[in-house]
């Protein structure tokens, strides 16, 4: 098992709120978090893809992870809410600014496409409504083979009783479809009070039908393999990796996936990452 991560903290422009959320995440023992920007592309309105704020602009100071002596790692993530397949433009350079790319399909067709074709890392499942489609085994299996993860976020379940029913029901059917593999559990929290500790989440997962081991993985190793997946996706199927010139001082979000201790191993390139991802997923 590796460190705990919460790969979905809702972005808010309110600096003090963002600081509080990240402080709470560090206090709860999360070693890595991702700030999530949600974007709903449409043809009519020419909106631009948001660009991620560098960590310095987001918060004043990186808190120390509780019980450890290292600061929390903050990443960026983009979630595209898709209602049309054409809205996803695979070659958009803006996508590359993010450490993680997620889609939230709204129809069965899009879900199928997301599982089988789209170059993304995470397929986010809506938790605030009754699912308009079933999870079919076939596309889900393809997604598992491609190393994608399905995301369940629990904040909606804390906010409201109806949502709680949808969240549990959707999560249970998702877990059944993918047999507990590659389920990512994240918060989608907008307030510090909406965050929950990793062990609380692991216990909660037992209501969704995940075993203890699968539940632990859903907040740790799966997150880690996802970050590796994202890295290899950007690096053209893991064959070619591009590195930024060393002129810039190494920033938080560019740091390669650090082995747990996060010390002294920054010399690792991306090449073995592809290999490791596979072994992680099959173990």
């Amino acid at each position: 098992m590796s460190v705990f991560m919460d790969l979905n903290l809702t972005f808010s422009a309110d600096r003090s709120n963002m600081q509080q959320i990240i402080d709470t995440a560090a206090y709860l023992g999360f070693s890595t978090v991702a700030v999530n920007y949600t974007f709903e592309p449409s043809i009519k309105k020419k909106e631009t893809v948001p660009s991620p704020k560098p960590v310095e602009d987001l918060i004043d100071q990186l808190p120390i992870v509780q019980g450890r002596s290292r600061p929390i790692r903050v990443l960026n993530r983009l979630t595209l809410v898709l209602s049309e397949l054409s809205h996803f433009r695979p070659n958009l350079t803006e996508y590359a600014n993010f450490d993680l790319l997620a889609v939230q399909p709204t129809t069965e067709k899009l879900f199928h496409a997301a599982c089988t074709q789209l170059e993304v890392d995470v397929i986010s499942v809506a938790m605030t409504e009754k699912l308009p489609f079933f999870f079919k085994r076939a596309p889900v299996n393809v997604a598992l083979e491609r190393g994608l993860a399905f995301e369940v976020s629990y904040t909606a379940a804390i906010r409201d009783a109806t949502m709680r029913r949808y969240t549990i029901a959707n999560a249970v059917s998702l877990v059944q479809a993918c047999k507990g593999k590659n389920v990512l559990v994240s918060s989608a929290a907008m307030k510090p009070q909406e965050l929950r500790g990793p062990y609380d989440i692991i216990n909660l997962c037992s209501l969704m039908g995940l075993s203890d081991e699968e539940a632990k993985r859903s907040v740790s190793s799966i997150c880690r393999s996802l970050l590796l997946h994202a890295e290899t996706r950007k690096a053209a199927s893991g064959v070619i990796s591009t590195k930024k010139s060393c002129g810039e001082k190494p920033q938080q979000q560019e740091a390669p996936i650090s082995r747990n201790t996060g010390e002294g191993d920054s010399g690792e390139g991306c090449a073995p990452a592809a290999k490791r991802l596979k072994s992680q997923l099959t173990d």
């Binding site: 009754k130 079933f134 999870f135 029913r165 949808y166 029901a169 249970v172 059917s173 059944q176 209501l207």
Partner: protein
């Protein structure tokens, strides 16, 4: 295709006035089950009850009902059924309770059980008959038991509605 496992509960709806059974329909029963599960097992129960639960068959003459539950949570959902005290229909509230007679893995095993059960009931009625005409009716009914299958949907049906 992998089959999603279900459990079928064969329940008997017990009422004081048998005529009120005729007022029942699938929807009313499904609503009553959902309501009681939400009361007894809360949001978790309600969520489990929103997955693959349905009223598969209802006989308003005999008050027999088939409920389908997902296999993973049927025990939880079943445990709430004894707390049903009435079913709301559009016209009136029918006081009743559910008595579970059989739990099966497929509709067919439940159907077989039901036929056997009904035959038993007819056999029990036979000695109580007042005249020859009634006896003849029941004998006919017993003989016809083995072939009344049209009332049930084909078993394969539940393989196809996999989510």
């Amino acid at each position: 295709m992998v089959r999603v496992k279900s459990r079928y509960l064969l329940c008997e709806i017990n009422v004081t006035d048998r005529n009120s059974l005729l007022l029942l329909n699938d929807k009313a029963i499904a609503a009553a089950v959902k309501e009681v599960v939400a009361r007894i097992h809360g949001d978790y129960g309600a969520a489990m009850c929103s997955l693959r639960f349905s009223v598969k068959y209802l006989n308003t003459q005999t008050g027999m009902v088939f409920l389908r539950f997902p296999k993973m949570s049927y025990k939880l959902l079943w445990s709430a059924l004894p707390f049903i005290t009435s079913i709301d229909t559009r016209w009136k509230k029918i006081p009743c309770f559910l008595n579970c007679l059989h739990v099966g893995g497929t509709i067919r095993t439940c159907q077989k059980f039901l036929i056997r059960y009904n035959t038993q009931q007819l056999h029990r009625m036979l000695p109580n008959c007042q005249n020859e005409e009634e006896k003849e009716k029941i004998r006919k009914a017993i003989l016809s038991c083995s072939i009344i299958q049209g009332a049930f949907e084909d078993e394969r049906d539940d393989n196809e509605d996999e989510p």
